[in-house]
Symmetry: C2
Subunit: 70 residues, 2 copies
DNA sequence: TCATTTTGTCAATTATATATTACACTTGCT
DNA sequence: AGCAAGTGTAATATATAATTGACAAAATGA
């Protein structure tokens, strides 16, 4: 239950775009840079709202960006 | 920032399957029935981990199930 | 109709996502 | 060498996701 971990490629996708820093993406999404840092480091599970906003600004689908690592 | 709401069609997708009650789906996902009820009623934003598990058990993509209502 | 299952909802608590402030380390630029 | 911008991370505080226990009402089926 608690040992299922979520992975993401937010950092990769952001860097691929070339024009976004952690801070800029955080601003666009409406979270702090520290929160974005933790998300990119895959240190915890963000809410779907934040994920949807990340997905929107990185122009990637949710399914491309987030998955269950089993 | 706070006025962006997340919508989902979890309830519709669950009922379409025909074999799952709120309680059964909650069990599969590993949350309580009350939590699943609130998610289906779109009363708050679940974490991506819960969304991924819902998506897996309903056999729908994240993008089909969750979106931003603007 | 009656019994059982399923759902909606409430109040109170716990767990955790997110904010805030801060600081050190790296990287790129000139 | 510097300075500025970007990053990783820590400690503490706040907001809210999620739990627990409970009850009434609606739905389902005999």
């Amino acid at each position: 239950m608690k040992n299922i971990s979520v992975k993401n490629r937010v950092k990769i996708a952001r860097i691929e775009r070339g024009d976004l820093t952690q801070g800029k993406l955080a601003n666009l999404v409406g979270v702090t840079r520290q929160t974005m840092n933790l998300i990119e480091a895959q240190k915890y599970n963000p809410t779907i709202r934040v994920c949807l906003l990340i997905s929107k600004h990185l122009e990637k689908s949710l399914d491309e960006l987030f998955w269950i690592d089993e």
